[in-house]
Each structure stands twice: as C-alpha cells, then as structure tokens.
C-alpha cells in the first residue's frame, strides 16, 4: 500500500468489496477474475486483499490466494503481444530482450532471473541443462516467459502474505476477514492436513531412504548428506531422536555425543529450534542419493510425499478382517 501511496482509511466501499471478492474467488474457485473496466479499483483492491489474507495467519488460505493471483496474471498475459510482456517484465526488473535468431524462442532472459523462478518447476524441460544457455542468457518462448512471470507474482504475493507480526486492521476490514475465514473453514470441512501415524512403516519408505536405512542397519558408513536425509526423514515421520540414535549404534564409528547432537538438532530440539525436513527429490538426485526410482517416485517431489502416498496404498491393500 505504501508503494501505491494508499492509506487504509481512504479505502472506499467498492475497493473493500472488490478485495473481499478477489479473496472469495481465490479460495473457492482457485481463480481471480479480471475487472479491467474499473482499473483504479482493480489496482487498489490487490494490496487491500493481501493485507486481509495476511491478517488471517492461515497458511492454506495464503497459499490458495497467492496461487490464484498468479494464475490471473498468466491468463491476462496469455493474450498479450511480446512487447506488452516485455513491458510487464520491466516491473520485475528482469534483464530480458527480444531475439529473432533463435526460433521458436522469442526472448533471452538473464539466467539468474530465470533460475529464481524456474527452480520451483518440476518438468525436465525447465532445467537449464535442457535449455539453450549462452553468454548468461537463457532462450525462452513467449509461453515460457509468461509462465515465469506467473511464478514471479506467486512468489511476490507469498512474500507479501508472509507477515510475522500481528496485523491490526480497522473494523470495516476485520468484519470481512472474519466472514471469509468462517466460510473457508466450512469449505474445508473435515479435510485437514493429517500428520503421520505413530508407528513407523518401513515398507512405505521411498527406495532412497530404504537403501540408507539398510546401509545403517548393516553398519555401513553414510556421507553427511545421506545421514542428514535419513535422520531428517525418520524424525519427520515420527521417530524420536532417541530411536534414531539407537539405529546409528551399529556403526563402527558411532560417537553417541555427535550423533545425539545431530539427531536432536535436525529434530528441532537444539539451537535455532528449526525442525529440518529431508531434501527434495531433485536435490537428492544431484547428490546421487536418489536410486531405484519406482512408480510412486515419478509422481512425487519429496521423500515425505512418497511416504504419505505409499501409506495410503498399504492401508488400502490391507486385508479386511
């Protein structure tokens, strides 16, 4: 709001209405419509909606809203000319130029601007190793640039929503926020994100973790990243630091003090109190921890997602007694 030189108390009813509507659309329909006829309202209602969503401190609500706003940008730009797209990228300070000698690519974008957003995509075609990269520039089609812009808006909105301090809003705002919150809770119904069961189910481990687990169980040495992966995986699916330490006891170089420090640190009991989660699948691939990929591996991006999914299958296959 500061950027647009807007004051909370100046927000008119139509702006507040549009802000509330934006959030509603995002939460219930996963999209935000475009009402370009009232440009002023359209522009001012965005920061207002961001403040409203940020004030809820509801992670899922924030996630849905950011994604829907990003999709809106994609749809808006999809129909636009290359020059117009170029203009929009200027807002984000991208180093980008139009090129005509590398069809089907129309743009050359400085690689850091590309990486900042593309690392969140999973498709192989988005890895820069599969792109034409020359003199610091990544060559992209108009569709690629639009997709990257969507992601830039996504990240930007998520950042704006990620406010640590409590936001105090005027009554005219909070009434609307409360209404939205209630409606969203009803909408979610009973579908809450579930934790993992108490019991550790080894047969649901992804192949990489199963391998590491086997190595440790037979007393083999693990590299730092392998140890981190295994420990963080186990503490996240419900093993206590104590149980993890026991597992490492069979190692010939077992140093209880060191292992205890690592296990407790990773489990979030020491220092920064951050609970660490295992690296994502593509990070494990880079460090050559990933192995023996199976069908489920191809559908997930994270070892914990694998575990969650496999648990469901095992449960479904369990005999009926």
């Amino acid at each position: 709001m500061k950027e647009l030189d807007l004051k909370i108390e100046d927000m008119s009813e139509p702006i507040l209405n549009r802000a509330e509507h934006r959030i509603e659309e995002a939460l219930f329909y996963a999209l935000v419509s475009t009402e370009l006829r009232k440009e002023e309202i359209e522009i001012s209602s965005f920061p207002v909606a961001v403040m409203m969503v940020a004030s809820t401190a509801d992670k899922l609500m924030k996630k849905r809203y950011a994604l829907a706003e990003a999709k809106r940008i994609y749809e808006l730009l999809e129909e636009e000319s290359e020059d117009k797209i170029l203009e929009v990228t200027r807002v984000s300070n991208w180093k980008i130029i139009l090129v005509d000698n590398k069809p089907p690519c129309e743009f050359a974008l400085f690689f850091t601007d590309c990486l900042r957003n593309a690392t969140r995509f999973q498709a192989k075609g988005w890895k820069i190793v599969n792109r034409v990269v020359s003199k610091g520039e990544v060559y992209l089609t108009t569709g690629d640039v639009t997709r990257l812009l969507q992601e830039e808006v996504h990240v930007h909105t998520e950042k704006k929503l990620d406010v640590k301090e409590k936001i105090v809003l005027p009554q005219s705002f909070t009434n609307r926020v409360e209404r939205l919150k209630q409606a969203f809770t009803e909408h979610k119904g009973k579908i809450e994100l579930k934790g993992f069961p108490d019991e550790v189910v080894i047969s649901a481990f992804p192949p990489c973790v199963k391998h590491l687990y086997g190595e440790i169980a037979s007393g083999n040495h693990l590299s730092h990243i392998e140890r981190f992966t295994l420990t963080s995986f186990l503490t996240n699916i419900g093993m206590t630091a104590e149980e993890v330490i026991d597992l490492y006891r069979s190692l010939s170089d077992f140093k209880e003090r060191l292992i205890r420090y690592q296990a407790e640190h990773i489990a979030g009991g020491l220092g920064s109190r951050t609970k660490y989660i295992p690296p994502r699948c593509d990070t494990l691939r880079t460090h050559r921890v990933c192995m023996d990929m199976d069908e489920i591996c191809r559908k997930v991006r994270h070892p914990l997602a694998y575990y969650r999914r496999k648990l469901r299958t095992i449960k479904a296959e369990a005999p009926v007694e």
């Binding site: 400085f110 690689f111 850091t112 990486l115 900042r116 593309a118 690392t119 192989k124 075609g125 890895k127 820069i128 190793v129 599969n130 792109r131 034409v132 990269v133 020359s134 003199k135 610091g136 520039e137 007393g219 083999n220 040495h221 730092h224 990243i225 190692l251 010939s252 170089d253 220092g271 920064s272 593509d282 990070t283 691939r285 880079t286 460090h287 050559r288």
Partner: protein, 420 residues
Amino acid sequence: MSVKKIETQKFVKKKFSEYYQKHLSSIQPPTLIEKREFGFLMFKGKVMVRHQSFKDVNGLTKSLKTLVPSDAYYSSAYYERPEEKMEEKSWLGADLVFDIDADHIPTSCAKIHDTWACSNCGIVGKGVLPEECPACGEHKFDEKTWPCEVCLESAKNETVKLIDMLKQDFGFSSKETNLYFSGHRGYHVHVENEEIQLLDSMARKEIVDYIIGIGLETRLHGLIEEKLDQSRTHILTGPNLEEPGWSGRIARGTREFLSTATPNDLEDIRIKKKVIETLVQHKETILESWKEKRPWALVKGVDPASWRKIAQHGADTKSAKIDTVVTTDTHRLIRLNNTLHGKTGLKKMEVPVTGFESFDPFKSAIAFKEGTLKIIVQDAPKFRLEDQTYGPYKNQQVELPTAAALLLLCKGMAKVKEDK
C-alpha cells in the same frame, strides 16, 4: 598420538610459523573482508576455530601469525555479523564457488598411490578405498592420499571444461572468474559477481546440474525423430557442432567419441554388435558428415536408440566433475588464497586462466624454497617437485629440500630426524 607424531607436528607448525612470519604481505584478503567469517584448523587436536571476523587484513595476518593454523579458511558467504553463531550471522549473499578434486574424478592412475589401512584388523591396501574391508568387513579406514601428477592433470581437464561453461554459457567475465590451485589435489574456481550473490541453494543446484549434465535429455536438445513431409517415415535429427550451450557440446562430444572409440568402447555403452559393425564400417563417412548434413540419419543400420546412447555418452565426456556439495552450500568455508595446505605444505595460489594449460602446481605452488631437512621416511612413492624427482623411499633416512621433506611430513609418511 605417539610422541614421534607430536614432535613431527610441532616441527611442521614451526616451519609454517616461519613461513607466515616472512610472507604475511602476500596474504590477500577476500573482497569485503569485514563481512566474511574466518575459520582456522589448529595443529593441536585438529580443532576448528570458527566464527572469526576481521575489519581489515591486519587483523587477519596477526591471527595467522599468532595462531599458526594448519589450514586457514574464509566463508564464501557475506554476513551482517560474521562473528556470531550461524543462526545470528544474518546472511547477505555468497560467491559462487566450485571445487574440482581428484577424489571426485575417475583417473587413469586408479589412485594406486593412495593407501588405506583397516581400523579394525589393520590390513592395508592400495588404490580407491574399498566399500568394506576384504578381510574383516569393517567400514572404517585410515586413509593416506597422494597428490599425483595424473590426478592433478585430470582435475585440470575438468577445470578447463568448467571454465569454458562459466564463460561461454553463463557469460562470466575473466575478471569475475578466479582460478586457484587448492594446494592439494585439485582446483577451486570462485565467481564474484553481484548478480549471483543472492542465488539460493536451489538455484545453485541447477547450476551444478548444468555443469555435471545431471538431468540432461538429448531429445530436449533436438535429438528427435521428425516426420518427413507427406510421408510416414520418421527421420532422426540432432544438434550441430557450433550450436551454443549443451546442444553443441552433445554434438562435439559425439563426434570426438566416435573418432576415437574402439568396438570395445561402443560395447561398454551397450551398443549392439551389428550396429558397432556398421559404425566401424562407415566411420569416415560419419566423421565427414559433420561438415554438412550431420550424421544422425546418415547410415542405415544405426537406429535412433543407439544414436541416443552415443550422444548421451558424448555429452558425459563434456561434463565437468565438480564437487556438488561445495557449490550448493551457501555457507561454505573455503581455503584462503596464499595460505599453506596442512596436508602438503604447498600453498593455495591463484592461477591465471590464460596459460592454465602449462601451469605446473609442483613448481609454482612450492612455498618453502630454501634449505634442506633430514627426515626418516617410512613409505613414500616416487614424486616430483620442480624438476627433481625423489623416491620411492621405504624406511630410510634422507636429506631433502625443505618443500619435499615437508610434503612427506605433512602427509604423515615421514618423521623428523633430530640432530644431536
């Protein structure tokens, strides 16, 4: 630790101390020294003193002089408060750092100069560390590695490929790209450029994948079967030699591989016998074809699947084998330029990129240039420093130039001979 070992360690520390007294002026502080964390590995107990910070080079050199560490490091990262604990440092950014170490490269010497001893049964062996002790199944070993010429030449080749990618593909200038000999078994490349400082670990991982070729798909570089106009037949097309980035690299790697490959090499990458025969028979035509049509659809009897295997292998030869962990770690400590390496007594030093081909680490990185030392060598391979070769030695007393003697002392292959 035995008395002899402690004496040797003390002696090496004394020599390092003498070196730092004399050469303090050669210590180059990293850019923005006040925002870097420094770490010193001490001789005694091999303890790392971390979270050190200095306002200027004087503070740094004073510490080197008084602490006399076996190894000195600084952070690739910039921090608001480098002297604080990790959680409180407040990260501001980091240089892009690459480490090429012989440990990560398969070499033709097969590391035959490296020795290991099982910590449990004491059995000894040579070469690459086994997964488990062949005698008792133990997994812990005492390792002694050696910086051999073949290892360092392999590391150099990988470094050349890395620098080519950094310049041609990523567009870094010579001014931003600094190359160093590590002082042991490899090379470091530091990129200092404002644009990359804020890249997170994920973005750096993508750069690592690019350099090593992880996730590379030849089909996304144009090696695909295209349908001919008006016909049902598909024809394989693929990249050309001059194309930028990985496309050109795939083409060049393929050409180079096919120009030298023996039938055995082709068998190793699982090309079928019949296809190998065709490739051998048409070798000249295939190599010639790069000038015009390219070879991808040239010869009947070489199917697209075989071409893909060959192209993938060609691409592999063009990747640079860097240490993946060093580059993705945005808080990494790296050896300080012009300081001594505790495992060799050689110094880490900057190497000009032009002329790198002829750089000789066993000549240029020698720190101790004067005098001789009497030492008792337990076991050492044949080695060269400057133009002189030494060894192999086994349980014998020798008088060697200081640099050669220190190399063996630092490597734990010798002990000091006291003159009484």
